[in-house]
């Protein structure tokens, strides 16, 4: 009679559980796309949309009734492109449609009138350029000579700002979704109930989720940071170790939140709703797509307390400004708080059947 595990060695349950997590994930092509493919596509799309390029010229409208000398002085101004407009009505129409930023019309006393919407930044810029050209055409001479030199600094572009944000967003999304879905599916299929009827350690079951997250974390972070560096030349000025530590803590934090989200839900629909409820404020407020400083001051304490804000701030500090772990210790403490509290609460609430 065969005895215990003579032929095939029995591996420890924690290893088996973790391997199962990895296999289940790899065998789910959709999940692979959302975790790895989608962020890269997003980065590529937004990187192209917001790439640095020669500033486009602003369109201005010139009424045909304008004296031809003035109109001629507007024809070849760098940064402006002039279009002829037949009458006042057409000019008003063009402004309303934002076809042009400024309409230049004849003014009182042989002067010139600028019609524009001052709340549009490009209209204000165009007004200055137009006025400068009109006045110079009329003979104004600059009393002070000026010269210009332009820069495009690596680290100051939108894509530099965006890649660390996207990295944080990805850590949040995959951390929360991967755990929430797997746990709730197992609960719904009564697999959790079956597992707790075995001698399996419940702590090891939960730990296997964290371990498998860490495995994918390396690939996930490597892919996104590597992609940013290769395709858009996004810098990593701080140490890779510091970057790794922040990613690790953030991944564990969001995993703990995923566990909390999944601790009671019985259906995938319920857990999706909860996960979105938790993540939506962070999508909006945490400064992934634009700086969180744009939000009103009254909201800032709330925004700064969000784990994704802490993650994104720490990642930007390390990647763009070369900060050390000490510099981002405030953010790390915030993340640790978000790791410990949800984890402890999740363990207490967790529904095993």
């Amino acid at each position: 009679m065969p005895d215990a595990g003579q032929r095939a060695p029995v591996r420890p349950a924690l290893i088996e559980l973790t391997l199962v997590r990895l296999k289940e994930f790899v065998r789910e092509p959709e999940a692979l796309f959302w975790v790895f493919g989608f962020p890269l596509l997003l980065a590529l799309g937004l990187g192209i949309a917001f790439r640095n390029r020669a500033p486009e010229s602003i369109r201005i409208g010139v009424l045909q009734s304008l004296p031809s000398a003035v109109a001629a002085s507007l024809d070849s101004v760098p940064g402006l492109s002039a279009v002829r407009i037949t009458d006042d009505r057409a000019g008003a129409q063009a402004l309303r449609n934002a076809d042009v930023a400024v309409v230049v019309a004849p003014g009182a006393n042989g002067g010139v009138e600028y019609r524009f919407d001052p709340s549009r930044p490009d209209a204000r810029t165009a007004r200055l350029l137009v006025d400068n050209a009109v006045q110079r055409g009329a003979g104004r001479v600059n009393p002070l000579p000026v010269s210009e030199s332009t820069i495009s600094e690596r680290g100051a572009r939108y894509i530099d700002f965006f890649i660390p944000g996207l990295l944080g967003l990805n850590l949040m999304g995959s951390g929360i979704w991967s755990i929430a879905f797997a746990v709730v599916t197992a609960r719904k299929q009564k697999l959790l109930k079956r597992l707790v009827a075995t001698p399996m350690s419940r702590a090891q079951y939960l730990m296997s989720f964290l371990l498998s997250r860490l495995f994918f974390l390396v690939i996930e972070v490597g892919a996104l940071v590597g992609f940013g560096a290769l395709v858009f030349d996004v810098p990593v000025r701080g140490s890779l170790v510091a970057l790794g530590v922040v990613c690790l803590i953030a991944a564990l934090t969001f995993s703990a939140m995923g566990l909390l989200v999944a601790s009671r839900a019985r259906t995938v629909e319920a857990v999706s709703g909860l996960a979105n409820l938790v993540m939506l404020p962070m999508w909006i407020f945490s400064g992934v797509f634009f700086s969180a400083a744009n939000f009103p001051k009254a909201l800032q304490p709330f925004i700064q307390a969000l784990p994704l804000t802490g993650t994104v701030d720490a990642l930007r500090a390390i990647m763009l400004r070369g900060a050390s772990l000490t510099t981002v210790s405030g953010e790390l403490l915030l993340l640790l708080g978000w790791l410990v509290v949800p984890f402890v609460v999740a363990l207490r609430l967790f529904r095993w059947r």
Binding site: M1, P2, D3, A4, G5, Q6, R7, A8, V10, R11, P12, A13, I15, E16, L17, V20, K23, E24, R27, E28, A186, Q189, K190, L191, K193, R194, V196, A197, T198, P199, M200, R353
Partner: protein, 322 residues
């Protein structure tokens, strides 16, 4: 298999006393007693909703009873939870194993939870899934999934096995395969508690059967004893031409008395059933009685009494539509 089941202090592999469990207003289990000897295959037979699953899940340590004692292998929940889980083999009614894993991976995972157990290749052979070893669980048929679930129950080389409706929803061939597996388990001396609402399953597999209805144990014995308790040699089913009202209750009673039915007659919807002690005497009498009343037989059959008839005689309801 040479695993030795140490005798519990009570001598029973499983003993349940005065078990009671309510869910809100619903009384699922209402004072149930069970005694299962080592090496015995014990069946809980009853209709859906009789409290079988609640009872078995209390025994498995998954549900806490409101009142009552459960003793397994001389141990109790929750004092010896870890030890008990090592020695129980469990198959739940609704578990869906992970569809992305293969048969082998699933068994290997379950094996890793037990300190001692069987080699998974032996278990694969035992549940006849050799050809499906590397197939994903999602591609298995219902019967193959159920055999895998049984495999998961057996990897820990359990002393006491719980099977909750192991063949529900399976086609006849798949049911027979599961039965053969359970019979093999019995040969190796495992104690088995199984629930079922199929009387043929209970008759074939179980040494002892408890018939459960409304959370109570209404009859206990070997299938043979329970059937013998009907005192009937055969069950005579008959129908008459015309409406079923052609035979009113009084007339039916008279007919039943004339054929010396061992139990009151039962309407089946299209006709009636009469348990009789001596078929050769009962049938001529029945024909004469009907003839005397001017009724024409449209159907006449007899069958050997089954546990179904036991259930009917105890509850007045059929097992399937109970």
């Amino acid at each position: 298999m040479t695993a030795i089941t140490p005798l519990a202090p009570t001598g029973f592999a499983l003993r349940v006393r005065g078990l009671r469990k309510t869910f809100g207003d619903v009384v699922a289990v209402d004072g149930l007693d069970l005694e299962v000897s080592p090496g015995e295959c014990f069946g809980l037979l009853g209709p859906n909703g009789a409290g079988k699953t609640t009872t078995i899940e209390i025994c498995e340590g998954l549900t806490e009873p409101d009142t009552g004692d459960v003793e397994l292998l001389g141990r109790t929940w929750p004092d010896h939870g870890d030890e008990l889980r090592q020695r129980l083999g469990i198959q739940l009614q609704e578990t869906q194993l992970s569809e992305k894993l293969t048969v082998e991976e699933t068994l290997r995972l379950f094996r890793s939870f037990y300190r001692r157990g069987r080699d998974i290749q032996d278990v694969i052979a035992l549940v006849q899934l050799e050809e499906k070893r590397r197939a994903r669980v999602g591609t298995l048929s219902g019967g193959q999934k159920q055999r895998l679930a049984l495999g998961c129950a057996l990897v820990g080389d359990p002393d006491l096995v719980f099977l909750d409706e192991p063949t529900t929803g399976l086609d006849p061939q798949a049911r027979r395969q599961v039965w053969e597996l359970v019979e093999q388990l019995k040969v190796t001396g495992r104690t088995i508690l199984l629930t079922t609402h199929y009387m043929d399953e209970a008759e074939r597999l179980c040494d002892q059967v408890a018939i459960v209805d409304h959370g109570r144990n209404i009859a206990l014995g070997t299938p043979r004893q329970l059937i013998a308790g009907l005192g009937a040699e055969q069950i005579v089913s008959f129908a008459v031409e015309g409406a079923t009202e052609a035979l009113d209750a009084a007339a039916l009673g008279a007919v039943a008395e004339a054929v010396r039915a061992t139990q009151p007659p039962r309407a089946t919807g299209t006709g009636w059933e009469l348990p009789v002690a001596a078929t050769h005497e009962a049938i001529p009498t029945l024909l004469a009685e009907l003839d005397r009343r001017g009724l024409t037989l449209s159907e006449l059959r007899t069958h050997l009494p089954t546990l179904e008839d036991v259930f009917v005689s105890l509850t007045g309801r059929a097992l399937r539509d109970a």
